[in-house]
């Protein structure tokens, strides 16, 4: 239903030709990033992340469950995202649509494929009981760049997570009878302990419209790239997750436009630089290093 007047996209395009953005940022510059952890007491870990006016809350819940048969000694992780109608007049109630699922899967991939969670250390009883880690992403205020805000919220929440040994004590006591081998695990972990994590890759998203590529798109820039309103130039989106060594760990191209190889290479370089800065913000907020 939202109409973007073509004047608005024309003006943003005109600015872009002059090397400018509507809010005065450089093409590769992020808005202000703020991270707050331990915001939900019922969750094992949680974080509220703001990039500009966009706000995302991620919460981590853990439970004991059965391992997959192909990895009987590894913990299990699941990522879900809800685009609740609280966050935008354009989000509707109901089961997650394509947009929410793509978001959840891109965040999931950034965490899973780069093996941030050391799932091998989440085995409670080999072949039988493992920890399940649920990453739930709640969008609170949508003003552009959900991918990066959600990924960063998920990471910050993971870094604030304690494995809930005390809460599960009654279950462990029961399991002692059927699975005596649980005692090894309980001896090693008598009480709550931080979730075992590795170095996190950081996701950086850019969009292309009017033949320029801008990072951390604002809502206007994103909507123009998405072609809401009758924009003639088809936009495209690229998310690149890179690690501390500057290696690429996950990528996702979206929308109906296209990139040249040079644009992608440039975007990867800018993602590495931005990623390093964002990683420092993340570490500072979770008290790491």
């Amino acid at each position: 239903m939202t109409v973007i007047p073509s004047i608005k996209s024309d003006y943003l395009g005109k600015l872009a030709e002059q090397g400018k953005r509507i809010d005065g940022r450089r093409f590769d510059e992020y808005r202000k990033i703020e991270i707050e952890t331990h915001v939900v007491s019922k969750a094992e870990g949680s974080a509220r992340v703001r990039i500009g006016n966009t706000q995302v809350l991620a919460g981590i819940k853990m439970d004991i469950g059965e391992p997959y048969s192909d990895s009987p000694n590894s913990g299990v992780m699941t990522t879900s995202a809800e685009l609740v109608p609280l966050a935008s007049p354009d989000f509707e109630a109901g089961p997650p649509g394509g947009r929410a699922i793509e978001l959840a899967r891109v965040v999931d991939r950034g965490i899973r494929e780069s093996q941030i969670i050391d799932v091998d250390k989440l085995c409670v009883v080999p072949d039988e009981k493992v920890w399940m880690v649920f990453i739930d992403i709640h969008i609170l205020d949508y003003d552009g760049n959900l991918f990066d805000t959600a990924s960063l919220a998920a990471l910050a929440a993971l870094f604030s997570t304690k494995v809930p040994m005390d809460r599960f004590k009654p279950l462990f006591e029961k399991l002692k009878d059927t699975c005596p081998s649980i005692n090894d695990y309980l001896q090693q972990h008598p009480t709550d302990y931080p979730l075992p994590l590795r170095e996190p890759p950081i996701s950086c998203t850019s969009v292309k419209f009017n033949n320029v590529v801008v990072f951390d798109p604002s809502l206007d820039e994103e909507e123009i790239a998405e072609g809401i309103g009758d924009v003639r130039s088809h936009g495209a989106r690229l998310t690149v997750a890179t690690d501390e060594k500057g290696h690429i760990r996950a990528m996702q191209k979206g929308l109906n436009g296209s990139f040249t190889k040079e644009e992608i290479q440039k975007a990867i370089k800018a993602s590495i630089d931005n990623g390093n800065e964002i990683r420092q913000i993340l570490y500072k907020s979770v008290g790491k290093k």
């Binding site: 239903m1 109409v3 007047p5 073509s6 004047i7 003006y11 309103g229 009758d230």
Partner: protein
């Protein structure tokens, strides 16, 4: 009572009595008493009271000049978003062109912006706008921004003083729609300057002596440029 004239009031707040004053916009009457319906600023005009909301959707009033976005070109009219709870209808008879049936999209299309005037509103609240008035047309070029409709009087200023200032110092054309949409056209630097000033006005919309301070700000800036 003078200093109470700019009081912020809440929904359900008692404002006065029907025996002494009339109940204006944004108020309701119960048992002879006048209450506020909205979270807003109370204006005591002596004879009557009204409440101007601090935030909220644009409530269309006949004769308002607004900026609309075309949602859809239909066979004999256009559907226009004017930032109100309902889209407004622009009938071909209210346009300055001779439009053949089914050819509306040759004149206005989805995404086009227009300056329009609100026509009389019937009790079913179906909104209609017209282009048949002075200086109303399809907007081309420039930039559009949104502000709270309640801040529009501030942005215009006393007898248009604030807008006149902005136009003088930035050499931009500016049209302020009563529905909170503002169109600005001119050199990019000028548009950026206007946006900057509008942001200041929005943040301090009700503080004292704003027009003067904005003038000083613009003057200083103009000297820096020289």
């Amino acid at each position: 009572m003078t200093e109470d004239k700019r009081k912020v009031v809440l929904p359900g707040q008692l404002l006065g009595e029907v025996s002494r004053q009339k109940a204006g916009h944004g108020t309701f009457i119960e048992d002879g008493k006048i209450f506020s319906q909205r979270f807003g600023v109370l204006n005591d005009h002596g004879e009557y009271l009204d409440v101007v909301p601090l935030k909220g959707k644009y409530s269309a009033i006949e004769g308002d000049f607004v900026i609309g976005f075309v949602i859809e070109a239909m066979s004999s009219s256009w559907l226009v978003d004017i930032n109100a709870p309902y889209p407004a209808l622009l009938h071909v008879n209210e346009a300055p062109w001779k439009v053949e049936f089914g050819e509306t999209d040759r004149y206005l299309n989805r995404g086009d912006a227009i300056m329009a005037k609100v026509l009389p509103i019937d009790e079913t609240r179906k909104l209609q706008v017209t282009l048949n008035d002075r200086n109303l047309y399809k907007i081309k070029g420039g930039h559009l921004i949104d502000v709270e409709p309640s801040k529009v009087p501030r942005i215009i200023g006393k007898k248009g003083s604030m807008i006149a200032l902005l136009k003088t110092y930035t050499r931009c054309r500016i049209f302020v729609g009563q529905n909170g949409r503002i169109w600005i056209d001119g050199p990019t630097e000028g548009i950026e300057k206007v946006l900057e000033v509008l942001r200041i006005i929005e943040d301090e919309a009700l503080s004292f002596g704003l027009t003067k301070r904005i003038e000083e700000y613009l003057k200083k800036d103009a000297m820096d440029v020289q």
